[in-house]
Amino acid sequence: MALTTPAAVGPRAAERSVADQLTRGGADWAGIVFQWLLIASLGFSVLVLATLIIDVVGTAAPVFSDRFVDFMTGTLRTRASEAGLYQGLVGSFWICAFVVILAFPLGIGAAIYLEEYAADTRATRFVNVNIRNLAGVPSIVYGILGFTIFTKALRSLTSAGTANGRTVVSAGLTLAILVLPIVIITASEAIRAVPSSLREAGYGVGATRWEVIRSHVLPYAAPGIITGLILSIARALGEAAPLILVGATTGRLASDPSLLDLEQLRERFTALPIIVTEWTKNPQEGFDEIAAAAIVVMLVIVIILNTVAILLRNRYERKRS
């Protein structure tokens, strides 16, 4: 059978005519149904996200409209109408500070070593596999690590007074360890994507390895590395399971220190996700509302962080490809 092309009616018509003759005029129903199924599953995720946000914001609305400032600056209370988030914000702030101070330099350093210095030996491969496995360890197991090492073994270092090791220091160290593999993996990927011609140019003018890394590799890999750092902060912010084992306070906190008071690091603590858990599990009147309000605060922070990370990555991906 010959394919005829009525070229006179324009290219579109020609295309359609060829397609009709190839498919004998019938539509590809299986293909259409299949494609709609695929779209529906993606649409499902979008729908879930929308439902979740509407559900949470709807429940939280009265708290925000009635006592927004009071809620943000109030402390943990047994009555929902008086309770506030402040201590959780402070706790989460300090936990993130530990992640920034410990996990960032350690993680980036390890990534630089593995990508730029390490030869492809058995030991290097072991370290790489080890890091991938660490990334897959459930967060609650990190909680066991934190409990055994920081809360119990190093109690005298991590706590003051009656805190018994259940302090911000223990929590911060535990979460820094938890996000370390994520930092290493994302930073390694960013460093690996740096073209080797850049390095060779540096070596060509006599720079040492570290000079090349500092002046060429790191600046080029920076957007990718920073994306990973932001994602790991977001992860640390939402992580509750390890904090439960390390001993975050779920009841009232004795002290109510200011944000930057360093004394509190060795005192008992709480954090945003712990507060969310506690209020969600509390069956008394009004706690579902403040739980939802706490979630909105947490989601705003986490979604902003994630969005910045995604935008940063997309921007540089486009620029360089």
Binding site: L52, L114, G136, I140, V141, I144, T208, R235, D288
Partner: protein, 306 residues
Amino acid sequence: MAITLEDLRGDRRRVRTERIVRTLLTAAAGTSVLISALIVFSLARETWTFVTEVEWATVFSSDGWFPRRGEYNIWTLLVGSAIVTTVAMALAIPVGLASAIYLSEYARPRMRKVLKPTLEILAGIPSVVLGFFAISFISPEVVQRFFGATSLFNLMAAGLAVGLLSIPLVASVSEDALRSVPPALREASYGMGARKITTTLRVVVPAAVSGLVAASILAVSRAVGETMVVFIAGGAGGGTLLETSPLEPGLTMTAAMASQATGTDAVVGEALTFQSLFFVGSVLFLITFMLNVVASRFVRRVRQSY
């Protein structure tokens, strides 16, 4: 001017900086090994005490998981974890896989640019939030309405919420696998006159199958290790009977550990209660570790073939 060996050795200070930096970076890479050692050490000591001192009858044939009463029926927790994981995977694998196929094979670039970030935002939502969503929406509006569960707290709602958490993971790992299938394979298929659906299902998906299996295994591992959703929405507090219905409250390994740590002010208890937490932790660690090793095997297979 002649160049001597001394000149080639370079500036003293620069050489020293180089050596210091190298040592620091090596130490940084070494910490990851130290962390693994610490994890194993933390788990091993108390687990060993538990394993050597427990009466094994209480682990395999008691009525349920009641650590404070000395009943450590591990099957209770394994069955709970299996229920939650099965429900989660029944949701996450088909939806995640279909999303990946659409993103990799069908979506136009502009569509991709909108949909992919949506999945990434969903991936970034903390699990405590999904725990809240499970009891405020999924359980009353879906599980109780359509499956007739009597308790607001049940393993099915928890499982569905864990499934939602796992969709982005399945989707992104699967999409990577599908996109690494060389375009030549698709073109060959089109060249033979195959339709898009045939090309996708008969050529692209089989070519990427190891990656898709890896995605599923990783998702299982993630679901088994998920704590907060089940801790919030699973319902059973200090202990539970061996329960096989997904519509009843229950405990997974992770939720049992979390509720044991919160039951009183610290992780304490009589006899082996304290040690049982570490025993469950070890079982959980071994299961997820094996799953991750198997998954990385499959991932490597994808890399090798293309």
